[in-house]
Amino acid sequence: MWLKRFSVLLVASGVGLSGPWEAGCLAQTAPVNGIRSAEVRAHAIVDATVVVAPGQEIPGATIVIRDGIIEAVGDDVAIPPDARIWSGEGLRVYPGLIDAALLIGADEPAAERGARHWNRRVHPEVRMAEEPGPDRSVREDLRKLGFTAAAVYPDSGVFRGSGVVIALADADEHLLSYRDRAAMAIGLDTSGSSTSGEYPVSAMGAVALVRQTLYDARWHADATRIWAAQPRGHEPPIRSAALEALASVIQGRQQTLFCVSDELSVLRAASISREFQLDAIILASGLEFRRLKEVAAAGHALIVPCRYPERPDVSSLSAADRVSLRQMMTWEQAPTNPRRLLAAGVTVALTTHRLEKRKDFPEALHRAILHGLSEDDALASLTTTPARLLGVADIMGTIEVGKVANLVTVEGTLFARKPKVRSTWVNGRRYEISRDPDVTFQGPGTLTTSSGAVLHVDVDTTKKRLRVYLPDGTKRKAKKVIVERDRVSAVLEGRLFDVEGYVRLQGVVTEGDIVGTGVMPDGGQFAFTITPGAPTPPTPEASKTQPPEASKTQPPPGATDPDQPAQIPARKTGPQAEAPTEPRPTEAEPPEAARDDPEADDEEQEQDQEAESEEIELPPEALPRPLGAYGLTEPPQPQTVAVIGATIWTAGAEGIITNGALLVADGTIAYVGPADGFEPPAEAIVIDGSGKHVTPGLIDCHSHTGISGGVNESTQAVTAEVRIGDVIDPDDINFYRQLAGGLTAANQLHGSANPIGGQNSVIKLKWARSAEEMVIDDAIGGIKFALGENVKRSQSRYPNSRMGVEAIIRDAFTAAGEYQARWQRYRSLDDEERALTRPPRRDLELDALVEILQGTRIVHCHSYRQDEILMLVRLAEEFGFTIGTFQHVLEGYKVADAIAAHGAGASTFSDWWAYKIEVMDAIPFNGALMNRVGVLVSFNSDSSELARRLNTEAAKAVRYGGLNPHDALKFVTINPATQLRIDHRTGSLMTGKDADFVIWSESPLSTYARCEQTWIEGARYFDLDDDRDRRQWAASERQRLVQKILKAAHDKPKDAEDAATPGGSRREHSPDEPEP
């Protein structure tokens, strides 16, 4: 291998830098086996346009490089006599690009190394500086794009390990690390399958694991510190490579890099960072424009991929049916992402991460530029910004004296769709990416064979193209053209020579001609010459294949008027751009001449069209939230509004008010009562309520709508540490559909896979707002418990019986009690004692259970059979707390007296039964009967569909059990509000409460009732007329996008898209090339 030939370099740095970049540090230590090979480390790139930093260009400048460092740059720089000179004429030199996130596989630490974290996705002790680094092919691919440095991180895990910033050199020994310990990479990875049984399986589990691990790191650091101060009387802290590795993170000494997969996860990462005051940057998904406002507000620098979604398939009506407006808009808008983020004030570094093929990066970047990203911003996001984010701005990112000589030279601009990258310099070593061929033959020519045939051809060796024009104006392409430097070979159809089969040609470009030998299908050989210029009008003798009438036809492109002199293609034999010249670059022949063929052929025309089609139809600027149909550019705002003359179901003490009035101001209810004598304030919008019914907004006490990444952390029997609040998905279209059914609030619950599940989140359905804005922040915390068939189903873990369910819950609360006591003891220590006492480990799972014991968190327990219901009542009473609600509680009617006496609520299905054994005794009278016995009852949906019709669910309490209609309506309004402890704000229409209400076309208990308007906190979130407008907008936007997609598909079919990928030449280095 050529790189083995390096020898020790001697040096004298004229610049006088010190530190790791001092010359000589890079010396090879291995002995040379054979003759030493000297390497020239002084270079000068001359006559180039140097982009020293984004927006700063010096034309006709020189860059002097010595020993990997930029020694001088400017338009008035003396070239040192020892420097090797590279012509930069026609070239732009940019600072070498930096990929801020190169994710590669790393070995997980072996289990037998000991002190491993219990969860195999937690391996922060991995250090990429100690790993082999990216493959040579990856480095080469990146260099071809102009990248010279990259921050490398492990590609999987939750705590993945520390990154390293490296030079993208070719030789492994030149993979210098610019920064040994870059950020700690954190991902929200899950095991992805409940069958694996590995924690975490859900997105919320991953967040919980991050959170707990960071607390553990803090605790471990404290324990270590205290033990160091006071070894006597303390056991040493447990050994943990993982927690030790995280000490620097938790103490703010090491940056973190969150690697996420969508825009909502950016916000989740930001929220974790806030909680632990982490110095975090986020490797984003490229879809941040969908939640731009929130992402910008989070304030983290982002590393942004340029991978855009595939063009949706709308080729048939059925196919188009499956594509949502959201998908189409995402496709259309994705290239605006970098520009929008920058405009919103976000710090953005771009990365090749996520691209299926790295070589697609220039094209993707170009698309971003077409969509409004400025070239200066693009350059900054690939140079100065990543340099700053990675803490290496003092040594790279710009072309400045003293910085590392990481450069990229480009003919034209780096930001073209297919940039012509000529060379990439890494640490002052030049890697040639592409060069023009040394010799070319371009243009029309005359092929004459020794057998007397004369053909009109068109040759372009730079494009590996040879075409034969027939007299009728049609043309035949050579089947296969191979060009190797000055050698050319081609295969032609035999019929051009009046024979069957194929004729093969091979020759060289010499003195402007192509001269060589041909072989006929029968093996007969002949000599041929291609001379520049089309033949004079051929005669029948000249070409036997030519039909006599041919001359009538239009001359083919490239055929010249016989009166005009034939165009002679230019030859290029002079020194190439950036080819070494001595002592000063000679005047190179303008390479343009060769390409200056005015007679564009079809392919060139196609290319021109492509270039024209780059004048893209810019996507709309305003983006609805959530992106897609029914989203809003601005969320609904509170109004002052009065509904007059309606039948008002208050769900409160006033009962049903016929001919009532409701006044809403500042988001709350200002008046509810008889319409008689009520005068709305002048500023109020008045809604005529005659014939209408008004109810409080409906509340669903059991919902799984709008939860990202799984509703069950089913891997462990107790997962009290996971939180639905971490994974709310405000984009779930079912929120909008439920608003259209009068729902305004919901209890988002963890699933029922384990006895003690995760923490709930109580939200209002504030469509078009953020997850954070949806949360009812003064609702008491809740948690999901579950009993019965679901929790004992898992064969691989405890429990497998209802007996075990009781035992494990008892054990959990026993542990929580002990934990609580440990903390009480610790807190009761005086300051001095506490400073020398190891704190108990903070356990988020037990924290949640302690909150239950303290009554600050309420249990919502999935349950069916009377035995298990009674069991939990007794267990709770034994531990001194009250169950918030029994959920489903289908046999609640059998033990309603016990539930009522305990004080738990019951949130049940109206009439579900028979879907499994434990619900065979479910009866639709359950709600009404429990209610009669004194239980606070609600009806819930547990279904995104049913949540749209809770009003008619309430009617079932009238039908089954004979409740009066107003009491029945309470089952879906004030009762669930009370169960969720949000009745101080919502659930009934009372002065001072949140203005959450619904206007119905008739009695809400009638199956014929339609929800006409849904208001939350005085803002209209659903309205039939608005809905009609939104549908129309969605339909027209769909049509616009379908047309745009069809046009894009027509202009650029998928295959062509794949083929039209930019990239440097595939030429391998060979020893005879002037490489370092």
Binding site: D321, K916, M920, L929, V958, R959, T1007
Partner: protein, 440 residues
């Protein structure tokens, strides 16, 4: 809200009929003497409603009806139904009643046979007359049902049944009502599904499935020809089971939801000259011209469903029946629910009314239209002389959840409207009576 029944007959009946603690209902004996319901609002469905109406039935069939003072029918059992309403019994068109007891317990599920092509199976023989699910459906006025096998490609033959009887044979109306086909999924492969099956695999599977159906019918026709002329041709139960469908005597019930499925199934059936009924039909609104051109009926597989696509209007499933009605497509509304929840049948139709379907059409979709589509148009689905005396007496509009069904007759037999739920309700009311918490 609840309207009290007025007649002593009824009161006596409810008390006696749902005796406490009785967990199984006793099938009613055949109608031995004539009966008359009078002073009711009569809803014949095929004719305008009749205030102060009466209907006479004898031997299981309706023999006379009219308005005003009831005729004197000698020896008749008389039901005075002042303030009450009489409707034909509701018809569940797409059910698995009797074929399943507890969804999650496989051994209680009998609607899917091994193999993907099982036309030889028929639903009726597996119907458990003592299923607890049947009286629950009946209590909401559903007295007739089509029970369909499910799964695979050709699932078997559906059966129409009356929801009262000692045996399945008693319950059977038409044991072979039609051939049931689950049409292959023609949707373009989804990106999400690609994880388990590549796009190519999905396309290949679709092609294979479509070909399997074609081959089956080709082979069956060849078999019939051979059978006609060759006495030694061995019998094949699968093909024999398809005879009525292929001859066009009985419908082919094709479960199809997506536009592409419906298009493909209708084209296939028309080409083969089959009488096709689309079951499910979620995207039927997208293929109206095709359905209209071939007069294809649709059994709407439930109204209480989420829209199929994110961009669809929130009410797209609610408005489907109204759309079909406006386009003149024949349709029935099914519950779209599991057998246990068949009782919500009429609530589905009601939601369609809230979203544009005329109320009369909604009732028809549960009665006469349903009857016609499943082959019972001449005997069921309306109150007409000569038809089966299968009727309900309700406190009001059966499309309202709050409406109670007080009486039900199946072929003139007054059936027990009690069920497991009412029994358990009674049982536990007794618990709270004993505890002194309630008194009634």
């Amino acid at each position: 809200m609840k309207i009290a029944p007025f007649l002593t007959t009824i009161v006596t009946f409810t008390a006696g009929g749902s005796a406490l603690g009785q967990s199984r209902q006793i099938p009613a004996p055949p109608q031995m003497r004539p009966a008359i319901i009078f002073r009711a609002t009569l809803h014949p469905i095929t004719a305008p409603s009749i205030e102060r109406g009466w209907v006479v039935f004898e031997g299981g069939r309706i023999t006379d009806l009219g308005s005003g003072d009831p005729p004197d029918v000698p020896g008749a059992e008389r039901f005075r139904a002042q303030g009450l309403h009489v409707y034909p019994g509701l018809i569940g068109t797409d059910t698995t009643l009797g074929l399943v007891e507890t969804q999650s317990v496989r051994v209680t599920v009998d609607y899917t046979e091994f193999g993907r092509i099982t036309p030889e199976t028929r639903a009726v023989v597996a119907i458990n007359p003592d299923s607890d699910l049947i009286p629950v459906a009946r209590a909401n006025g559903i007295l007739t049902a089509m029970v369909m096998p499910r799964g695979g490609l050709v699932a078997g033959r559906s059966s129409t049944i009356r929801l009262d009887g000692w045996t399945w044979a008693d319950m059977s109306i038409d044991p072979e009502a039609g051939l049931v086909i689950d049409w292959p999924r023609t949707d373009p492969p989804s990106r999400w599904r690609r994880r388990s099956q590549s796009e190519e695999e999905q396309k290949k599977k679709l092609k294979e499935d479509l070909e399997a159906i074609e081959h089956l019918f080709d082979d069956a026709e060849a078999y019939f020809r051979s059978r006609r002329s060759n006495p030694n041709q061995a019998a094949d139960l699968r093909y024999e089971a398809m005879r009525d469908a292929i001859s066009g005597n009985k419908p082919v019930f094709v479960r199809a939801s997506a536009r592409g499925q419906i298009e493909s199934a209708v084209a296939w059936a028309v080409r083969r000259g089959l009488l096709i009924v689309i079951v499910g039909g979620e995207e039927a609104a997208e293929v109206i011209p095709l359905l209209r051109r071939h007069d294809v009926a649709v059994i709407v597989g439930g109204v209480h469903r989420l829209p199929r696509r994110r961009d669809d209007p929130y009410d797209s499933r609610y408005t489907l029946p109204a759309t079909l009605h406006e386009a003149g497509i024949r349709f029935a509304i099914a519950s779209g629910s599991s057998a246990a929840h068949e009782r919500t049948l009429s609530h589905n139709a009601a939601t369609a009314v809230a979203f544009g379907l005329p109320k009369e059409r909604a009732l028809e979709a549960l009665t006469i239209s349903a009857a016609r589509i499943i082959g019972l148009g001449t005997t069921h689905g309306s109150i007409e002389v000569g038809k089966a005396a299968t009727m309900i007496v309700t406190t009001g509009d059966p499309l309202q959840i709050t409406t109670d069904t007080l009486l039900a007759f199946v072929d003139g037999r007054r059936i027990d409207l009690g069920n497991r739920h009412k029994s358990l309700y009674e049982k536990y009311r007794e618990k709270y009576r004993q505890l002194g918490i309630i008194t009634d």
